[in-house]
Subunit: 191 residues, 2 copies
Amino acid sequence: MAALEFYYDVVSPYTYLAATRVEQIGAQAGLPVVWRPFLLGAVFKATGNAPPALVRARGAYMLRDLGRWSAKMDEPFRFPSAFPINSLLAQRCLTATPDAERPALSLALMRAYWADNQDLSDVDVLAALVGPDRIAAAQTPENKAALRLVTEEAVQRGAFGSPTFFVGGEMFFGNDRMDFVLDAAQRAAAT
Amino acid sequence: MAALEFYYDVVSPYTYLAATRVEQIGAQAGLPVVWRPFLLGAVFKATGNAPPALVRARGAYMLRDLGRWSAKMDEPFRFPSAFPINSLLAQRCLTATPDAERPALSLALMRAYWADNQDLSDVDVLAALVGPDRIAAAQTPENKAALRLVTEEAVQRGAFGSPTFFVGGEMFFGNDRMDFVLDAAQRAAAT
């Protein structure tokens, strides 16, 4: 069955905004959403891509742009004190989370970072959000390998940033392409 | 009086798409559009920004994305054989063009490059489109300085790419932010 695949890393602000409505897009099209945590830093390294905010003028503009999006979408947004952070442990925790719980926990982590200024690279902060058992599960060799595999697969499919969506063979990048994602999802659901 | 300022370089495909509807946005809001040709290469150099297609995976995706936009907007689009090109002489020609003729000539140049595969870095191609007198006018020291000034001004105001829009003090980047541009233009027209 067709699905809407959502590759994401909590470290990206546009990904947070996209995550708040990806289930709505899936529901509107009648496609299940598959949440695939991956590691953005490794995607950048593999593709030679870089965070836009490294260019100072882009970074300044991004703050304004994020404010416009959060106002338009009516989502709470507060740029965190610590940015960027190392999202490795957070992404491993999401990888170790059962499928059925992953969307809600992913959103909880992103809201903690992007609305409540909680530093997800701090293991104590993270443990309070996901529980100590999940931290332990995150650090098994099997789980580490699973996150690596999803990340490598995303790069092989053409991903270079977060959020990245797939509907069948069609790839889409960015919170600002979710209209295209919806179109493709509706076409896929109709076939 | 408030205006919608449009900084653009013909070398950018998303700029072409934006240019086909910027006048419609201005008309919808009731604001005049001021067309400001600038030199994207100089903006990149000044800001440290780089063309997205330099990252191979981004470049491949950009082609798909441009196809989606041109289909959505119902604008003819054909990726040119020569890309990127040196747009310096073309931008100088547009600088040397009287205000009243600039929008139409700018669109003509962008359609020639982005729909009809005409290499605007070729002086003969360009002369056939703008006329030999305009080529001569483009190359005066005063006109060269005028293009440099507009480019430097854009960078000072925060621009890092093309297309860039200003409505009062608010800056917007990209064809995919024209909904925000329209909102801001309508607010500016109402005050």
